[in-house]
């Protein structure tokens, strides 16, 4: 391996490590929140309202006297939930469709799938989310589903182009010559080989979903009370921006950290999976 490759690999690894650490913190907080939190997240303590950072409340308290750190911990759950569910929807629908479009010998079928994809692409995430919140009422659920549906086309495209690439390789030809049927080829050859791209796409979609949920919560269309969510915290802290800026700082910081984490993870993985960085000579 040449030094250039070593350098890229090292940078990729740095991205990966930082990304994993940031995401690890978020996941860790979410998991711990199921076992323990410093305070009850919904219990208001009017006497303790709007306190600054202290030993009792390391991130301070909000207008109802609730512990901000507890809220950040609970908020990590929603953030991850939104990411996981929306990415799962997008990937579980988008990837099979993309693979099918890439593998089918029938031009009309792949054409149909891709046109459907184009159609879906015309409904951006926020548009769907606004309409969904009207149909099903505002909430985390409709938001996740809307974000998930809106990111189907991305996954389908990546999966299809990856599949086409894989299908044109000689090892697929070899597998067909070895009498493998289309199903096993999809499972044992295509999916493992496009998994890298899909994972990269997923980490980026994850980051986008977190941002979109925050935006929706800001519009009042995302997570609803009394569920703690970072987007909602940010929205509610708006009126305290000049008097108690810490209230906005914490959720803002954690949203940014989570998004950064997933983006860095995606970058790192992309470099890892980049064929150009593999010894190819």
């Amino acid at each position: 391996m040449t030094t250039r490759l070593v350098a890229s690999r090292r940078r990729a690894d740095a991205s990966l490590v930082i990304g994993i650490v940031l995401i690890g913190i978020v996941i860790g907080m979410a998991l711990v929140s199921y076992l323990w939190t410093p305070y009850n997240p919904t219990q208001a303590m009017p006497a303790d309202r709007l306190q600054g950072m202290s030993a009792d409340h390391i991130f301070g308290t909000d207008r109802y006297g609730r512990d901000t750190f507890t809220w950040i911990m609970y908020g990590a759950r929603i953030t991850l939930l939104v990411g996981v569910v929306s990415v799962a929807i997008a990937a579980l629908i988008g990837v099979p469709l993309g693979v099918l479009a890439g593998m089918t010998p029938y031009g009309w079928l792949s054409g149909l799938i891709m046109r459907g994809n184009d159609l879906l692409l015309a409904f951006p995430a926020l548009l769907l989310a606004i309409v969904f919140s009207a149909v099903f009422g505002p909430g985390t659920g409709p938001a996740m589903v809307a974000l998930g549906i809106a990111s189907i086309p991305g996954f389908a495209r990546v999966a299809r182009s990856g599949t086409l690439q894989v299908m044109s390789t000689e090892y697929i030809m070899a597998a067909r010559a070895a009498n493998r049927r289309i199903g096993p080829i999809a499972v044992f050859h295509v999916l493992p080989n496009i998994a890298g791209m899909i994972i990269v796409q997923a980490s980026v979609a994850f980051a986008l979903a977190i941002l979109a949920e925050a935006g929706l919560s800001f519009l009042g269309l995302g997570t609803q009370p009394p569920t703690p969510s970072w987007g909602r915290m940010l929205q509610e802290s708006q009126q305290y921006l000049s008097s108690h800026p810490m209230l906005a700082l914490w959720p803002g910081l954690f949203i940014a950290a989570a998004v950064l984490g997933f983006n860095l993870l995606g970058d790192g993985l992309r470099d890892r999976f980049d064929p150009k960085l593999k010894g190819r000579d």
């Binding site: 919904t42 219990q43 109802y64 609803q224 009126q239």
Partner: protein, 479 residues
């Protein structure tokens, strides 16, 4: 707008920008519900025969004076002289007759029209006199007349009410940009004398923080209703700003479905009332602004009485009642309209209820679309919260078939007697009704919504209290 006020130097400005929260979707309150349209148009563009002043008292408006017959069924109004509509037509008693008969026709679809159902006949002995006969005496009717149902229209100008408003008021609508602003221009030929300001602009800000920012950056001179009271502290410097705290007719009601479900049991409702700590709610959710009332009557009403001691905050008692009612841990839906005060209140209410062993499940509902249909119309809820802003709405809110599901028969006779009785009978009768409702634990009365106005320090003539359904701009002026 207020943009170019720097160049004038000493010269007094003749325009003013006022920020509001709820925007009118059109200009026609005869067919469109909601408080926003009357707020923008009543007293400014349309006038009624009478009006309610800042202290909640009846004052003459288009009617210079009026007489009431012995049987308190016939009202004779004497109209002001020299009143013209903004289209140039002169006001006559025929316009009044036309307008009020129109309320009772199909042309009005706004449910408010019910307030005029009590009218039996309208006569116009001459151009300046209107005689209105009621089917029964009514103490509340004259107050109702001061609201939007009493607006007097010109007979030739009702074709396109949604987009064109022609009235007798001090201002006319110069332009209306839906969702953004209404620009008013002063009328030179106003019967009450030309108002102080030449132009007034209402700007609409759904987001309270944006509205506050607009005041701070000087784009807005008056913020008519601060929906983020925590921010009032930002306007502490008296040289630059003034914060006016007045009252409104708005009772923030923690409504419970009396007819069905978990709160059909009075014990359950009582538990709720003991569980909630109104003062804490006011402090955390609304920055301590507002008044605790304990009942459905604002202090500006003649039959007001402090009822806050009927159900004091007592968590232990609440827990006991919860056990007695056998509803410990039983989950119920608490529908919260997505309005600033409602969501602000929800968090703390839930916390207090949970402390008493109750288990509310919040369901946020879009207001008005979803809340109106599910909670209000279909009564598909256990608990909700809403600010009932109309004047004299106690009998409506706890009336027959209303979403509160209150057993109206409990108060029906008393209410009838009060309305048709003498003024004293009216006051004492209504007091009894209000107490009965509170004692029945028909709903929680969290607080009286404050009228928080933030304005440039040099603005005067602000309507301190919001007790009618309008925001009058004729009194506004620069110092």
């Amino acid at each position: 707008g207020a943009g170019n006020n720097g160049s004038g130097g000493e010269e007094k400005r003749t325009d003013m920008v006022v920020a509001h929260t709820a925007e009118p979707v059109n200009l026609d309150f005869t067919t469109t519900g909601g408080a926003a349209i009357p707020q923008a148009l009543m007293e400014n563009v349309y006038e009624s025969l009478v009006r309610i002043d800042q202290d909640g008292e009846l004052k003459p408006a288009l009617a210079e004076s009026w007489d009431v017959s012995e049987d308190r069924k016939t009202y004779t109004f004497h109209l002001q002289h020299g009143v013209t509509f903004s289209n140039g037509d002169e006001l006559t008693s025929a316009d009044v007759k036309f307008s009020y008969e129109r309320v009772n026709s199909d042309a009005w679809t706004n449910g408010l029209k019910a307030k005029m159902a009590v009218i039996d006949s309208i006569d116009t002995p001459d151009d300046a006199t209107v005689e209105i006969t009621l089917t029964d005496p009514s103490n509340g009717w004259l107050y109702d007349l001061a609201s939007a149902v009493g607006a007097v229209f010109s007979e030739d100008a009702v074709d396109d009410l949604a987009n064109k408003a022609v009235g007798t008021g001090p201002y006319e609508v110069q332009s209306f940009t839906r969702g953004q602003e209404i620009v008013y221009a002063a009328r030179e030929d106003y019967w009450g004398g030309q108002p102080n300001l030449e132009t007034v602009t209402f700007k609409y800000y759904k987001d309270p923080v944006a509205a506050v920012n607009a005041v701070k950056s000087g784009e807005v001179d008056v913020l008519a209703s601060l929906q983020a009271p925590e921010l009032a502290g930002d306007f502490e410097s008296p040289d630059d700003y003034q914060v006016v705290e007045g009252t409104t007719n708005g009772e923030v009601v923690l409504s419970m479905n009396n007819a069905e479900g978990i709160f059909a049991d009075k014990k359950a409702r009582e538990a709720v009332l003991y569980a909630i700590d109104e003062q804490a709610i006011l402090d955390t959710a609304w920055g301590g602004y507002g008044t605790l009332i304990g009942g459905m009557v604002p202090p500006t009403a003649p039959y007001y009485e402090d009822l806050t001691d009927v159900y004091p905050h007592d968590v232990d008692k609440a827990r006991e009642l919860v056990k007695e009612a056998g509803i410990e841990g039983e989950s119920f839906t608490y529908t919260v309209p997505n309005l600033p005060y409602a969501t602000a209140v929800a968090d703390i209410v839930v916390s207090q209820l949970e402390e008493a062993g109750l288990k509310p499940k919040i369901e946020t509902q879009e207001f008005p679309a979803v809340w109106l249909e599910k909670t209000f119309t279909n009564h598909d809820y256990d608990m909700s919260v809403i600010n009932h802003v109309e004047a004299n709405d106690m009998l409506t809110v706890f009336g027959d078939g209303y979403y509160t599901g209150y057993d109206y028969s409990q108060i029906e006779d008393a209410a009838k007697k009060a309305d048709t009785g003498t003024e004293e009978e009216y006051v004492s009768g209504m007091k009894d009704v209000a107490r009965t409702i509170t004692e029945d634990a028909a709903a929680g009365f969290l607080f009286l919504f404050p009228n928080l106005i933030v304005a440039d320090a040099k603005v005067e003539g602000l309507p301190e209290n919001f007790v009618s359904d309008s925001f009058p701009i004729a009194t506004l002026a620069w110092k």
